[in-house]
Symmetry: D2
Subunit: 394 residues, 4 copies
């Protein structure tokens, strides 16, 4: 069985998730398309890198991502660093002929994403953006229903991603609140997952019309380099504050090319919502509802159910639904975050070894999502509809 050597750039929380997937993928999908070998992990400081290698099961470690990108032993570069570094690493990796999986969002904006896309196209390597949530089995089941026409033509989509980890004004000014590192706020961080759902399930988005708000304009400067989200708070009047220059919340109306309409909402200031990533889709023959917080379930309503037994049914994913044979033998035994990454890894490694198979979402999708995100920001600024294709042509 073919072995593919992975060089992973970054060793934080996402590095953990990816490492778990590398270790576990063949346990779930067997025979595996290829065996991921955790070859080298990179972190900025040697101590961190060494520790990450031990912890995450990598054979080597390094503090120099360029060296790893150019190491001829490496087959796959996995980018799990903050958003502002994706482009440089990915472009270098493409030039070095490596297959690439990058964390999302792909870039700081469409211009940067386009360069990345062109680089992987020119290099002829396989590429992936890690919008992993679409690989939740229940989301894949939604896709299956739609493809099979079981809810008919889609009329409308409502997607949300609501969290509360930044609702506290004392949660620190991590890189996620800084435009130069993050690109945007709730929009890029979590809203793009909903955009990915919308494109995956409904179709291409043609126009957007948005509102953005920064509810907490300044936050305590973060001490220590590690991203702790909102769970560690700097408190006290002494902590100096810095300016938040990204959105805390975004809401947008969307038009799809196929005529459907919808709304997307993302905020990290919704007290009580933790990972409330949802969609509701209405079609001419049925409806769907999904909430990632109860991710083993998909809710579906069919128009042709008998009149005295009509209603949303709660389907637990399992052996009879997509990816189910590979996962656990009983529905509701338990899909966690790890499983979404395990499936993602399987599908990407399959695309690497099969010449004609493209992974999706790839850099095309990543670029398109950046374009939509740019359109959302422009729309919010100008207070008007923005056509995504027209923006692309600019």
């Amino acid at each position: 069985m073919k072995k593919l050597n992975v060089g992973m750039i970054g060793g934080g929380f996402m590095g953990k998730a990816h490492s778990l997937a590398y270790a576990a993928m063949p346990m779930f999908f067997w025979p595996a398309p290829a065996i991921p070998h955790r070859h080298t992990v990179v972190d900025v400081k040697e101590e961190l890198a060494k520790d990450a290698a031990a912890r995450l099961g990598f054979e080597h470690y390094s503090t120099d991502w360029r060296e790893v990108v150019n190491n001829p032993e490496i087959d796959v570069i996995d980018i799990v660093t903050p958003n502002n570094t994706h482009a440089e690493i990915a472009i270098a990796a493409a030039k070095a002929g490596k297959h690439i999986i990058s964390e999302k969002p792909l870039a700081l904006g469409a211009a940067e994403a386009k360069e990345m896309l062109e680089a992987v196209k020119a290099a002829g390597v396989k590429h992936a953006v890690a919008f992993n949530y679409r690989r939740t089995p229940a989301v894949a089941l939604a896709k299956k229903y739609i493809q099979e026409g079981r809810i008919g033509e889609i009329l409308s989509f409502r997607g949300t991603y609501l969290q509360d980890w930044s609702a506290d004004p004392n949660s620190p000014l991590s890189w996620r609140f800084q435009k130069k590192i993050a690109g945007s706020g709730a929009l890029g961080d979590i809203g793009t997952h909903v955009v990915d759902f919308a494109r995956y399930l409904v179709g291409e988005i043609s126009d957007v019309n948005a509102l953005t708000r920064t509810w907490i304009p300044e936050r305590p400067l973060q001490t220590g380099g590690i991203d702790k989200l909102g769970t560690v708070k700097n408190s006290g009047a002494d902590v100096p504050k810095g300016t938040v220059d990204v959105d805390d919340e975004v809401i947008t109306m969307v038009k799809f090319e196929n005529g459907a309409i919808g709304t997307i909402e993302a905020t990290r200031n919704a007290w009580g919502r933790n990972n409330f990533l949802t969609f509701e889709i209405h079609g001419t023959k049925g409806s769907l509802f999904f909430n990632y917080e109860n991710r083993d379930e998909l809710q579906v309503s069919f128009s042709d159910d008998p009149s005295d037994a009509k209603g949303f049914r709660t389907v637990y994913t399992g052996p009879a639904t997509p990816y189910g044979e590979a996962l656990w033998p009983i529905p509701a035994l338990g899909i966690g975050y790890g499983e979404t990454k395990i499936i993602e890894t399987h599908d990407f490694f399959k695309a690497i070894v099969e010449e004609d198979t493209q992974f999706s979402p790839n850099f095309n999708d990543g670029y398109r999502i950046e374009l939509i995100a740019d359109a959302i920001l422009e729309s919010a600024e100008k207070g008007q509809w923005v056509n995504v294709n027209e923006l692309e042509e600019k």
Copy 2:
């Protein structure tokens, strides 16, 4: 105890709901502010009117609403007819010095609503629009939390009203699909309830930016005069069809005068949703969620809960929450549609007998909601933000 004679114009489903409230209000609120006496009910045909009187417990019946409006024995006119007749009846009733409660939406548009408002102001009578859902005890509890500052300043609002009774293309072309009778479609019929929630709970809406769609452009002509919603279907290829000239679905972004933002969505084409009237509100100190389908419950999350016991709590309304002393002795014993009407009747009759008490929502609110609805339609047509106050000045 004072008795107030009611003349009710219309004897359909809403007439049943109002009659139940007249009969039951004093059983719940005692001593009652006044005893409603079901004096005369009006329907277009004598047979229907006679039947309505017997069924609904009215002493008299009539086929001539003008006669009833001008009957000196009548104290209160209750308008439960299709939307296009509200204005004429209400203006006549106001001129005759009657207190008026009108079903919603108040009128076919803001212009008509303004005339009605001026008429009741000129007459000095008490007036009400029957947006009854805000009198669901759980909604009143949400209002209480907000007023007491328990969820802080409001940042965002998301409201929906989703039904499926018109999702079937064979559901007939009732008056609700005809602009000249209904004014608008999902917007006026159900979306205005969400607008009422938004104004009641968050504050005045300043700007809107909307999309509307008519998913099913023509429907079978309705045979028989009674509004049967989607539950009775004309089938077969033979049934001639007529054009739907109102919206099946509306989504709008809203800005509130106090800085909050939000979305509102209404559709009658959402398979599997029956009476999915919901709101979610995020504040600086907490969040609220309500779904009328489980109307005994309000969900609330407080930011200051202990970190290991934080989350939405499901509060069942009962004796300890608004209106609870008057209703049932145990939470979840069961709030139905009737109870919302019983409370509405109580509050309106209280306003009638107390000189300085105004009922809310009244014709001011009804007018404002019509203005917002007009702004939503204009926004959808023009594809841009519409400022409600500027529209008013036109």
Copy 3:
């Protein structure tokens, strides 16, 4: 249309619910089988009786229930008094030839219930016990599914009735905690509703094996005569206490004559549960779940659903389900406590005017439920299975 004069003995909370039903039943069911006329209401003190008549819409009032029972104008006696008075009133009413509806539980035990049953049989009058929850439309829908074989043969039943109004040790020693008035505690008060569900939906119970507990052995004496459940608390060390001699909680295993098995649990000491009256039923072809707290819904799972779309569906009752034509035009518009009483009243009045129609649950059922309750208490005392029929023969 025939009018039937009602004499209602008792004017508390249940009197309100029944009065609402008398007023509203014809509004919902039309033509009505008969028109209930609220003729006379009885309370122990003249002031209370007079007030009840005004509030509840009765033409007359009285402090002497015997006089009312023997009034030849009265057709129906409605007993809404504490449990220990049901037998005497009902037997007198039967002797006077009146049709009788009694609140539940029917009596203080099987012996008393048997006398009542014999009295109504001897008199040839119609009789009803007000286990109203089985007339929740969703419960009637469950019955329909079962009768139509849609969940196959029933294997098991699990029913609960959980409340928390007596969980506070300071909630007062109302009559509901006194054996001589209430007969039993949670068992008679709420557990019998579950027994009614079990018999209605599954079949006759043959054997029981139970545990009972009195968690709070003494409570503050109640001041004031009105039953306020747990919502009014006597506090302070000064309030003298009295002994609770009934069960706070009962759990029992049950065997049904048809081979099904199950459990029933009732407690008024379950913090956070308000009116958690539920059942879950497993059959050879499907399953059902109902929770009265969300009473518009029935959950049903069918074994023959496609393997990728299997799961509990949430059916909202409405026009397409039992009683739906008479109620509200859209599912989830809202079933409250009142509607269960309105349906009960309709069905009882229909039974009165139709010679061959028997209302169910009637005194036979009420007696059988008392027998089962006695068996449960005996089983708990002896720590062993008790056969209900053998107990009957004693």
Copy 4:
């Protein structure tokens, strides 16, 4: 960092879950108490064993468990074979001085379990039984609340484990339906998880009183050796059938030594229930509810909440709750089956390296659970209460 070599006996679905945990545990818990090294995996056939090693990441494979048990390089024996083999392997491993983790239930009955317990005690090794569900973070949070007195004294417990994979009469006669291999049916397979919850959260069970039923007395013989639960069906009239000699369903009442009471119910014949492992606990100061199907959540109700904001709150486990620092950075990011095994592995390896730390549940617990299971079966057979301690003394 210390490395511990694992010999895993069995390579089926549970082997996958355990292997995932060995690979991932240090990624989550760092520094890890010890690094699990996947040394040797055993399966009955060489081909299967070889394949398991490649798939699950073991260095070696073997078809001879005795050899592995006696291999001096091995530190830990992990038993993931059918129930009837646990005892022999565990006793041999104990004699060889290995630490042991065994899948549940520990044995075919209390007698066998006692031998195993005596063996590990004599050997002085660490021992664990893999009732992994108690390591769901939400269950650990329930334990924390109880230990901190936040729901007061426990009054009652209701636990269920409902599945439907054997509800189809055509699902094959796997070893799980054969007493000589499985010991018992739903009771041992899934009911023991509930018994584990009950003992963990409430306390020791003193008495039981049970009913068992075998709903489907014979099933098609299974072709092929692999346990496929109900998902693969033998169909057609031709398939010969064999007798089921274990329970399909068990319900039992329980008494706890501390005075609490409860019920436990387990069935694999509940259409629509997949992995419905739940508990509800009522205490003097609050209540808890958990359903593993939504395993990120714990529901808790506190008696001292304000009267207008009382109710079950839904707490999502995360960084602020037990094990949260090691898992994912945001609540509801997703706990799956794997995480329960990762935590279990961590805690067991910690117990191995820390002399004074005992893992729980261990063979003492496993034995006690077998004793309770035996008592349940005896009670069901005799139709009476069985005292667990008296049974032990027999």
